[in-house]
């Protein structure tokens, strides 16, 4: 059973969001890192780039595949986790902590409210597993 912290918001594309005011910190969930396998490269956007909700803002390359990562909320990238360039493995080791990917200044912080709660995400994962 994968780890799903209660205090975060989740998307059906398996990203998590930690919302503080109008800023959201974003990464991929424990379930996602487990499904991807060993992460070997993380491609992140530049600071200052703007994205619409559901846009792909980067990609995660594992030994199995390259997968796009999507932002569930619109906004501007204000910070990226540059440590992932040299240590992509922390996405596997600590997906909700040091494995964070970007911080986004949200255009509309209400957008995050519509995302899944921990409980809803857990239910969603179960339905995916059939």
């Amino acid at each position: 059973m994968s780890n799903i912290p209660d205090n975060l918001k989740y998307s059906k594309d398996h990203e998590w969001l930690n919302v503080e005011g109008d800023t959201a910190t974003l990464g991929i969930t424990d379930y996602a890192q487990e499904a991807l396998g060993d992460v070997v490269y993380v491609e992140l956007p530049n600071e200052g780039e703007n994205f619409n909700a559901h846009d792909a803002f980067g990609s995660v390359e594992s030994v199995k595949a390259v997968s796009e990562i999507f932002t569930p909320v619109a906004g501007e990238v204000i910070e990226t986790n540059e440590d992932l360039n040299d240590t992509p493995e922390v996405v596997n080791d600590d997906p909700y902590g040091d494995g964070w990917m970007v911080k986004i200044k949200m255009d509309n912080s209400g957008e995050a409210d519509a995302l899944l709660s921990a409980e809803e995400y857990a239910e969603f994962l179960e339905s995916e597993e059939e």
């Binding site: 499904a35 396998g37 060993d38 490269y41 030994v63 199995k64 595949a65 493995e89």
Partner: protein, 507 residues
């Protein structure tokens, strides 16, 4: 059957050629100088000459070099050693006859810049191959220039772009959406992007076909330049709605490009041109038995309709007054896509393959390829999950779903297959199937070898239940066991330097 792990003996490893260097050892002896000696400065100014006495370049004898590379060549797995069931790769046998024909001096030594009247044999060969590929695909316009599959793809979508630009002028800018199914090869969206298109992904239905409702929805959004479709798809299923799909794209004003990666399921039986496809690429190094992998080189011809023919790359081989010439005057052409005329040696081999088979033989090869894949599907569907119901074509897709419950995943099954003497199947592709194993036996294997493969897979399924660690830690019979692929990708060591610790004890 059980295979006991053999403990690695250090002398089995091979030191790098750099580590074999012995100062002063050489592999040649120059004859005595019989002309007057010229000072080195007169031949090459000092600033361009190395002064470090070739520091770091291995000093080895001829026999050192021969033995080093020959030993390593025996570590390799090749199509000449056994079944190579890589799905969507069509690793079929490369006949010795092809090689013999390709070594005919007139073909082998012919210079690409030789004048046309001295090149009639080579040009005729290219023309005949064009004609044969046109007949096989039902698409009369052919270029042999592209050097590989992805190159053929890009040529195909560049042709689509050129057609739309010519047809619609400025309005063509509003037509930039290329539809690509979610089961496509990753090169498809890449080719579309390079040709200036925006990619929209079409979903597959749970039973493995293109989702028609989603297709119509996307067509309804407008701006459709075309569709890139692999048929049979990468899940090994023939797209039964192909006519309807082509009609939908044409009605939306777009053109249909077909990825010919899986043509080994169709040659001699069904023609893309008859299905409504506008342009296709073929992989001669898959379907037409020229060498695949290890640098090939490949050859990825494009075939298209009469309407698209003027846009094909230049030059093109044409027949005129009983002879052959290269036609350069093609004003609508997308231009040249390859130096000279493509990988000519591959064209010789492919034509040899086509002519030795004939039309009946080509059809029989296709039938055997499909029959072989169905044989494997039939005997393995109880042991491994087969995610799609539909009859498989030339390749079958299985998943690790049953084995994953025991902690054994696709990668482990592939690695364990090495212990049984087979090359692993394609793993984790296509992405729409979790833990995908894509198996393509091709027509090159007989029933005994198919049975051996089925037995190996069944045995692995049994090991998964009885002794999962045996599979998880495979391979056991190779010189080097399971490699750490994650670290190799995260922290690759790409250069040797003299202060590095030796990777192996010298043999």
């Amino acid at each position: 059957m059980s295979i006991t792990k053999v403990t690695q003996h250090p002398t089995q490893n091979e030191a790098l050629i750099f580590e074999r260097s012995q100062t002063g050892r050489v592999g040649y002896r120059l004859p005595q100088l019989d002309v007057e000696e010229t000072p080195a400065d007169d031949l090459m100014p000092a600033e361009f000459r190395r002064t470090d006495d070739l520091e770091g370049v291995p000093e080895v004898s001829e026999v050192d070099v021969i033995r080093h590379f020959t030993r390593m060549s025996t570590w390799n797995f090749s199509i000449d050693l056994g079944m190579y069931p890589l799905g969507s790769c069509t690793m079929k046998y490369n006949s010795r006859l092809n090689e013999k024909v390709a070594r005919i001096a007139g073909f082998l030594n012919h210079h690409p810049l030789a004048p046309e009247d001295e090149s009639q044999g080579g040009l005729e060969l290219m023309y005949r191959l064009q004609e044969d590929l046109a007949e096989i695909t039902g698409l009369p316009g052919v270029t042999l220039q592209p050097a590989a599959g992805a190159h053929g793809e890009m040529t195909g979508v560049m042709i689509i772009r050129a057609v739309l630009d010519k047809r619609e002028g400025e309005a063509s800018k509003q037509r930039r959406v290329m539809l690509v199914p979610d089961s496509a090869h990753g090169t498809n969206p890449a080719s579309a992007k390079l040709a200036g298109f925006t990619v929209k992904t079409i979903r597959s239905t749970p039973d493995g076909f293109t989702d028609m409702d989603h297709l119509y929805e996307l067509c309804g959004e407008g701006g459709i330049a075309g569709l890139m479709l692999t048929n049979p798809s990468t899940v090994g299923i023939f797209e039964k709605n192909i006519r309807e799909i082509c009609d939908a794209i044409h009605d939306a004003g777009g053109l249909v490009y077909m990825d010919g990666a899986n043509m080994n399921a169709l040659v001699g039986v069904a023609r893309p041109g008859d299905m409504g496809v506008d342009v296709i690429h073929l992989n001669l190094h898959k379907t037409f038995s020229t060498p695949h992998g290890g640098g090939g080189p490949g050859c990825g011809p494009c075939c298209c309709t009469v309407e698209l023919e003027p846009f094909l790359p230049t030059p093109k081989v044409v027949r005129e007054n009983g002879g052959y010439r290269l036609e350069y005057d093609r004003p609508d052409s997308i231009g040249r896509v390859k130096a000279f005329f493509g990988n000519f040696g591959m064209m010789v081999r492919a034509l040899a393959y086509i002519q030795t088979h004939g039309d009946t033989g080509l059809r029989e090869a296709t039938e055997a390829a499909v029959l072989n894949a169905r044989y494997i599907a039939h005997y393995l569907e109880k042991d491994f999950e087969k995610p799609f119901e539909a009859d498989t074509m030339h390749e079958v897709i299985l998943s690790h779903k049953k084995q994953a419950r025991k902690g054994v995943h696709t990668l482990d099954i592939g690695k364990r297959l090495i212990d049984y003497g087979f090359h692993p199947m394609t793993v984790y592709f296509p992405l729409i199937v979790d833990g995908a194993m894509l198996i393509e036996p091709t027509e090159s294997v007989g029933r005994q070898e198919l049975d051996a493969f089925v037995d190996a897979m069944k045995s692995i399924a049994k090991e998964t239940v009885e002794d999962p660690d045996l599979v998880i830690n495979a391979p056991h019979t190779t010189r080097i066991g399971r490699l750490d692929e994650a670290t190799a990708a995260r922290k690759p060591v790409l250069r040797w330097s003299p202060d590095m610790e030796s990777t192996a004890k010298s043999a």
